[in-house]
Symmetry: C2
Subunit: 392 residues, 2 copies
């Protein structure tokens, strides 16, 4: 069998990530590879760190990208911070909270679960009750932007609660970063991980993380070794850390880091606040269009993420068939539901470069056509008109 | 502070990896991102698996790239195969054997070390003695191509020994794959990991792995969960496995996989045997040139890796200063020594696209010039002449 070069189809990515990647980022990634200890590359690493500090709104010295996808970023936080026997409050209101619990247990920690319904935000009162009941809690972990449900949980109060009760806060900001405010220093968050393929609109494969001094202190004082060699921050600090000798730890994914650098330069050019506003405005445009079509959100308005819209699938519509048609005929990817929401919702992403009027109009008119064909009553053109009023 | 786009300098990469990346691979990586569950992408994943089976010379169904660099590939083998208390024979003859020991211990295993001098091959007699002394050994782990020393260890006898004594064999082929024969099925190797940035000449960031049925059997029958969620093959098989439902596990590094696909297509075009021959021939050319210059290898001829040449630094030469000059003036990267070999050797890589007459001639004439300037007696032009005779 002879296999030829792969030429991917052109898609418009409006699922839960990856989002559309700008040609500037793709071009940056294709620049010539240099060595991971090359002085020119080390200089670029320093810039990536500064740009990530800006994106995370933090002065944390240890702010850098893990050389693997978001789930490895999650694992880097738990594997470094959790020691066997540590009590960790894990807030679960979707798939990624469940994954956090798995991480805690695989690190030998004791997970104390605070559960909220899928589609709801994390209830800070329940978290405080759990902290009162477990005064020896070491970490409070939660997801700011639940990619499985499109729910936003405000980290401010949860981080402050953790601090008040002497625990560290650990925040999943994979889908949050650059789409809604992520204010690491204002919150006093201790460990935060994110993804590159969401609102940063970079390629998937890296996970920006940031750690407070309190978190580093716990890591430095561990009585047991971190169970992962690859993710051990005590070792990684020798390569990425402040004033590090840039000692070889692993071979950094050089070209993926070119891409991240470029996407962060683009974020800096747009301005973080402008990026948040753009995501918010695009969400309102999409919302107006979807509602004009008679579609409903699965999440209460006050908890909705602008960048991830969980929309109820109308009765009688074949979920998989419609998404397949959208992909094949219009090159449009929208996301399926996960876990408890499988078959019940679509997840329409408006992340990074995908959060544009052009994408919204394509999405609305595609849905209008395909829903009509599935015998859902949709008034022609109404959705696009409603969106246009807000977008322009 | 405003940070601009990063434009890397043009380098010739003749260190221990990354190696030069062909423009075809860079161009493939810059193709438009699609979703990690897109049917077109799933089709490409299947091709990557087939191409990796070819590169590894195996029919193992579970043959795929880990979404992180080689050190995560190493960890995926140990974290999945080692259960707490398992005895693992670890052969150490350089940096990467040491790293294997770290992995075993962090997984709760008991490492039985078989040590050989840096610059020497693994002694199979010692391994058999260790197996006799420890009949309950579960795994024999060793490095085929020690990137820190340039030493080759033939895996055939070590894999057969492991099998005979009822243990699994675990092979580091990071620098070996596509540079020297890696014959997974002929050897009966049970778990093998490799890197993309060495003789495959792809960008760094992925780690091809392959597991035998015996290895999978041990993983499926584990009594404890794999300590890493991200690297748990029981979960990853749902995305990459044979006949898998392609269930979401983590977001695959889509564009890096485009690059790997293209580099494997190029390997298929060249032919695996031809690639081995090219590496061997280029090594002989470089060797002739280096010896004509009076330089000596740090490794006995019979154990030398063609793709990684450990060369003794002549007395009185300032290692760091010379490498810096080579990089700045000639854009040539050659590798420093690691660990016990730091300051004593250079590591000159001839991997993948870097294994070309053009690179060899640049390297020889650069070394000739810089060594002369460092007052090492070198006869002008002799090295290049000696190399030319073999290369053309």
């Amino acid at each position: 069998m002879t296999i030829s070069s792969f030429n991917p189809p052109l898609r418009t990515l409006m699922g839960p990530g990856p989002s559309d990647v700008h040609p500037r980022v793709l071009a940056a990634m294709a620049r010539p590879t240099v060595g991971h200890l090359d002085p020119a590359f080390i200089g670029m690493m320093d810039e990536v760190k500064s740009l990530l500090q800006y994106a995370f709104q933090t002065d944390n010295a240890l702010t850098f990208p893990i050389s693997a996808p978001g789930s490895a970023g999650m694992e880097s936080c738990f594997a470094n911070l959790v020691e066997p026997g540590d009590k960790v409050i894990v807030c679960i209101n979707g798939v990624f909270g469940l994954r956090m619990k798995e991480n805690v247990e695989r690190c030998g920690g004791v997970a104390i679960v605070v559960e909220d319904d899928w589609g709801c935000s994390v209830d800070a009162h329940k978290v405080e009750d759990a902290l009162k009941a477990n005064p020896d809690t070491k970490i409070v972990a939660f997801v700011q932007a639940e990619t499985s449900t499109g729910v936003h949980t405000d980290p401010l109060i949860l981080c402050k609660l953790a601090t008040r009760y002497g625990a560290l806060s650990l925040v999943d900001a994979v889908t949050a970063l650059a789409g809604v405010p992520v204010l690491v220093d204002d919150w006093g968050a201790d460990a935060v991980y994110a993804g590159t393929q969401k609102c940063l609109s970079c390629v998937p494969g890296l996970s920006p993380v940031t750690f407070s001094e309190r978190a580093l202190d716990k890591i430095r004082k561990r009585s047991s070794k971190v169970q992962s060699w690859f993710l051990d921050l005590n070792l990684i600090m020798g390569y990425w850390g402040e004033g590090a000798t840039r000692a070889y730890h692993h071979t950094a994914p050089v070209n993926a880091l070119y891409a991240l650098h470029e996407s962060l330069v683009m974020l800096q050019e747009e301005g973080l606040e402008n990026a948040w506003h753009r995501h918010a405005k695009m969400h309102l445009g999409l919302k107006a269009g979807l509602e004009a079509m008679g579609l409903e959100f699965a999440v209460d308005e006050m908890y909705r993420l602008p960048q991830l819209n969980a929309v109820k699938i109308p009765d009688g519509v074949d979920d998989a068939a419609l998404r397949k048609r959208a992909l094949e005929r219009y090159g449009l990817e929208i996301g399926a539901g996960l876990g408890a929401f499988a078959g019940k919702i679509w997840r329409i992403g408006l992340m990074g470069q995908s959060a544009t009027p052009r994408n919204i109009l394509l999405c609305l008119s595609t849905l209008e056509t395909l829903l009509s064909q599935a015998n859902v009553k949709v008034e022609s053109g109404k959705a696009v008109d409603a969106a246009q009023k807000i977008l322009f």
